[in-house]
Each structure stands twice: as C-alpha cells, then as structure tokens.
Amino acid sequence: MTVNVSVQNDDFNVGELYNQLATDSRSGAVATFCGLVRDDSGDLKALELEHYPQMTEKALHGIVEQAQQRWPLQRVTVIHRVGYLRVNEQIVFVGVASGHRDAAFEATRFIMDYLKTRAPFWKKEHYADKTHWVEAKQSDDEAAKRWQGSESCGD
C-alpha cells in the first residue's frame, strides 16, 4: 500500500491528489473527502489549527494502518492543514483507492472518524472581537465508536 500523509500550512489541490490516487491498476474505486472551514455565525474571521508536531503524523499513520487492516487498500492520502485558515478554505483531505467502492467509502469514513477523535489537532475560532476554542463533540466520539467491534470488510 502506498501512503501519503502530510501536515502542512500550504493549501492542496484536490485534482492532483485524486490523480495520484487513481494510478493503480488494481484500484476500481477512489473515494475522497475534503473538509472546509465552515462559518455558522456569519462573522468568523479565521480558524486557527494547532497541533502537536512530533505526534501528529505518527497518529495519522497509525489510523491509516488500522484502516489497512480492515480493508484491502492500494493507496491512502491524508493531508491536514495547520495555521490560520479563512472561511471556505480547505482543512483536510482523505482519499482512498481500493478494488471496490464499499471498501473505499468505508475506509475514507473510518479515517475521518478516527482523525476527528485520535489525532492531536485543536481548532480555535477567531472573530472580530473574541476568540473561542472549539470543543469536542460527543457526536464525533460516537461516530468513532461505531467502528469498534465491527471488523467488516465489504467490497
């Protein structure tokens, strides 16, 4: 399996990342997910992404390894940006190439659900007059827990 994991300030090009994923003759399916900075309030200036540099890529590789143990995957790409990001900017990309669509869809979802709860990133919202640390959501915990005990490997 070819794994590309990166934690970076720079933006990424989804088209280029897709093209890299779609190069293995065994891959009949490529699933991708891209997360963007969302503004529910209408006055968010920027999102600040902090991380734990020595641990982050290691944690992401660990999550990809767990996905690999569950599904037959040929290529996995995980890109997560850090620093200051404005509304609508891309934050995270997960892409998976596999033989069939079920494995590609499920592995992409699994990696995102685990990344949300097991990779050391923290978001801080910047508004014109205040800042606010985003709090962890119970729904994210529940999404990650759904995978525990399910060793399914559909194709």
């Binding site: 902090e50 949300k116 990779a119 050391p120 801080k124």
Partner: protein, 82 residues
C-alpha cells in the same frame, strides 16, 4: 528530566507550553497531575476541569501509565481536528 508539554486551551490558560520536572522514579501520570495541581489555584482548576487526554512519548496513554526522566508527557483537551 521529564518534559511536560501543554496544548491548546490548556497551554493558553496555564501560560506555558512546556515545563521540566525531575522524576527519578517511575511515577503514574495521575500522581504527577495531583502534584501539578498543588502549584496554584489556577493549575488546580485547569488540570481538574477538563476530560484531559495525555500522551507519553507521542502515543496516547492512560493516566495510570508511568513516566520518568527522559520521557515526554503531553497534556491536552479532547482533540478537534478534521
């Protein structure tokens, strides 16, 4: 020395990103937390108020796990990436 790193809201409120402690004998993280809480009212409040997570040498760890000189312990609130 043991290195203890703090992240996100914890780092901000404690106004420090890293401290060094001399821990010659293996000590559970939970015991170290109790020692750190004695530093001041602020430390007590901040280290008590969250569902704190910890990592030892860059791997998530249980508070019952032990650390000693040479290790890197990280303390942080639940993660919010993605």
């Amino acid at each position: 020395m043991l290195t203890i790193k703090f992240f996100a809201v914890l780092r901000e409120r404690l106004a420090t990103d890293e401290i060094q402690l001399d821990v010659t004998e293996s000590t559970p993280v939970s015991e170290l937390l109790e020692q750190l809480k004695q530093r001041s009212e602020k430390w007590h409040k901040e280290l008590s108020r969250y569902d704190l997570l910890c990592a030892i040498n860059h791997e998530f760890a249980d508070p019952a796990a032990t650390v000693r000189n040479g290790d890197e312990l990280a303390l942080f609130p639940p993660v919010t990436g993605g």
